[in-house]
């Protein structure tokens, strides 16, 4: 008997434990109490992507601001965020912890394509509302998922907007592209390529960069040889600084057009030794340095909470994405459940905070995809070139080419 007991006890224990966990989770109003709503997020606070960590801190400062102003229908937001170092396996454990231990009600943000992909299925399975994954990849809203509300402009659309502006407004004739060889860079490439094809054109040079590359002098030589008058840049800040340095050595100065991922002017001016001046880049929200009243208030809130950190694109993006969730929570009312939040999100119709206009509907989960273009003018000076623009390229075709 003892012999069997040794086996039966652990099996019973595990079965009981599993049952306990199974009962514990679910329940539509998980994470909502009388006076509190638990919101979760994740991103790299350490490791190579840590410069994006300020997005989380921006959100953190924003929720503090919301609480100070009286919360949402009598409830304060408790914001839980965890560091994943931009490593998908760590994202998985961070998100599981937040779901199982912290009982989060909804997620906001979540940084990066690969980390977000790693937890997408889990969040869908648990039907937890998730607003604004910080990636312009197509995986989150195409096909639409009941509980995921995407806000970040699709990279392919952004690439298309760039190409249209370069051709129609700037009259560019020889366009080259230098892109990171992943979903982000290739998204931009494909969007722009589709527009060029429509006009019977092609890139004069397309160059891919690996994320680890630290010498781009042969890329620079190829660019110069192509004689491009405009170069589209879909890189990370580090490689952007390297290629601009390498081309400057060769005395080659094309017009550069950069993706919104390179939109942190303070950082770019610094690491390119001022060569960023004259670069065109896209933005999906108010400029962090703008005198827009709401943005000024956000800046003050951030500087109050994190006096030592630099205010810039990443910190302000935290506000841009989190304010959409808060608007959704406002609309859902006092009887808050996951279902009521999802229904409230579907009522967005051209709502605008400091970002682009947001529209969701049943079956529509890409809330916005518009951008505007800015020209850097040295220091933190800039000139806004356009209003919000969108492109009507065929997203299904773009997705087909990306796969």
């Amino acid at each position: 008997m003892m012999k069997y007991l040794n086996r039966i006890v652990p099996v019973l224990f595990i079965a009981a434990f599993t049952l306990f966990i199974a009962c514990e989770r679910g329940g539509d109003a998980t994470g909502v109490t009388e006076d509190e709503i638990v919101i979760g997020s994740w991103g790299p606070l350490t490791g190579p992507g840590a410069l994006w960590g300020n997005i989380l801190r921006g959100m953190d400062a924003y929720f503090d601001m919301v609480n100070e102003e009286g919360g949402i229908h009598g409830r304060n937001v408790r914001f839980v965020y965890r560091d994943d170092g931009y490593e998908p396996p760590r994202t998985v454990s961070a998100v599981r912890q937040m779901v199982q231990n912290d009982n989060v009600f909804a997620f906001v943000g979540g940084i990066g394509t690969a980390p977000s992909m790693a937890v997408k299925d889990y969040i869908i399975e648990n039907n937890i509302p998730w607003v604004g994954p910080l990636t312009g990849s197509t995986h989150f809203a195409y096909p639409p998922q009941e509980n995921i509300f995407a806000l970040f402009p699709l990279y392919a659309r952004e690439g298309a907007v760039h190409a249209e502006y370069a051709l129609d407004e700037l009259g560019a004739e020889r366009i080259a592209i230098i892109y990171q060889n992943d979903d982000y860079g290739r998204g931009g490439l494909i969007g722009a390529e589709m527009i060029l094809e429509e006009r019977g054109m092609d890139f004069v040079e397309r160059l891919s960069v690996e994320i680890t590359d630290s010498d781009l002098s042969s890329h620079a030589a190829r660019l110069r040889q192509s004689g491009a008058d405009m170069v589209m840049m879909w890189l990370l800040p580090r490689q952007a600084a390297i290629i601009m340095g390498n081309t400057a050595v060769l005395g080659y100065n094309p017009t550069w057009m950069a993706s919104s991922a390179l939109g942190d002017m303070g950082l770019m001016i610094d690491i390119t030794e001022g060569r960023w001046e004259g670069v065109l880049f896209s933005m999906f929200g108010e400029m962090p340095y703008s005198d827009h009243e709401q943005m000024q208030a956000y800046r003050a809130a951030f500087e109050k909470k994190y006096p030592d950190l630099r205010w810039g694109l990443f910190a302000s993006s935290g506000f841009v994405f989190a304010e959409v969730l808060v608007e959704g929570l406002e609309r859902a009312g006092r009887d808050l459940t996951r279902q009521s939040l999802i229904e409230a999100m579907e009522t967005f119709e051209g709502w605008q905070g400091v970002g682009a206009e947001v529209t969701f509907a049943p079956g529509v989960r890409q809330g916005s995809s518009s951008l505007y273009l800015v020209k850097a003018k040295g220091g933190l000076d800039y000139e806004i070139l356009t209003d919000f623009m969108d492109s009507d390229i065929d997203i299904d075709e773009a997705i087909r080419r990306l796969r």
Partner: protein
């Protein structure tokens, strides 16, 4: 265009050559490939950054400060970790270097964060010299000159000073050297200190080309290691030639053949070297007595 590519290749190749040299010095003395080499240089570069940018002191002080820090770091690494390893075999020691690398990487992220930063240098990255249509930046010239100066100084040290000769003796036959009264451990400590200084120089030269951040040495170190293997791992001139060659081949390959495979060409070269000339360009064939 080819001339331009060769010059650009020579510039980045100088960085590879310095790292290859740093790795070869330690490998010769202890048979350990030191994978912490890159991040030791990286953290020394951060020290220079602190002195230069944060405190605003002149460049020569930042340079001297970083070099002194590098010497201490090299000694400490050998004294605290390598020497402590009980019954060391090569594999254990390699893991010690990897552990130290992770430690330094983590420390840097904790202390300075991973924001990309600029290390201002007195040599401009964009002011150029034009020699017959081939342009090279002042920084590029400084990088190439630094690698050459290091080479000459190292040659002088190893062949003209007592300490250098002692180092060579330990490298060639540790037991005989010890019998003759040469303190083997201390010599190994000095080897680590010297290679740490060379790694720090490489770090300071590459930071202005790329950006200063905790990941900046990963790619150059791998290339430096490839260059050292190409040169024969035990030959210092081989390491240098390997570094220059790799920089040039990479650049030519990237321009004329394929950019996608530019960064893996280093490892294709390693495979070819191991197949056709396992001892490298200048290395002596290594036979272990049993």
């Amino acid at each position: 265009m080819t001339g331009q590519l060769i010059i650009s290749g020579l510039t980045i190749g100088s960085i590879y050559a310095m790292l290859a040299l740093a790795m070869s010095i330690i490998y010769k003395a202890s048979e350990i490939p030191n994978f912490a080499q890159g991040d030791m240089g990286m953290i020394s570069t951060y020290i220079a950054y602190m002195i230069l940018v944060v405190h605003g002191w002149p460049f020569w002080m930042a340079f001297a400060g970083a070099m002194i820090f590098a010497v201490i770091l090299g000694f400490l690494f050998e004294f605290l970790f390598i020497r402590r390893a009980k019954e060391p075999n090569i594999l254990n020691l390699i893991i010690v270097t990897l552990g130290f690398q992770l430690f330094l990487y983590g420390m840097t992220g904790w202390r300075w964060g991973s924001d990309q930063r600029r290390l201002g240098m007195p040599f401009s990255e964009t002011d150029t010299i034009n020699v017959g249509g081939v342009v090279i930046s002042h920084l590029g010239v400084a990088t190439i000159l630094t690698s050459i100066i290091i080479m000459v100084m190292l040659w002088f040290f190893l062949s003209r000073t007592k300490l250098g000769l002692a180092m060579k003796a330990v490298q060639q036959n540790p037991m005989a050297a010890e019998i003759n009264g040469i303190p083997k451990d201390r010599i190994l400590g000095i080897s680590f200190a010297i290679s740490s200084v060379i790694g720090a120089m490489a770090g300071m030269m590459i930071a202005p080309i790329t950006t200063l951040d905790p990941n900046m040495m990963w790619d150059p170190l791998m290339k430096g290691f490839a260059a050292a293997v190409l040169g024969g791992m035990t030959s210092l001139p081989g390491a240098i030639i390997g570094g220059y060659l790799l920089g040039i081949i990479e650049n030519l390959f990237g321009f004329y053949v394929s950019l996608e495979f530019k960064s893996v060409v280093a490892f294709l070269i390693i495979v070819l070297v191991l197949v056709f000339k396992p001892a490298g360009i200048l290395g002596h064939h290594y036979v272990r007595k049993v």
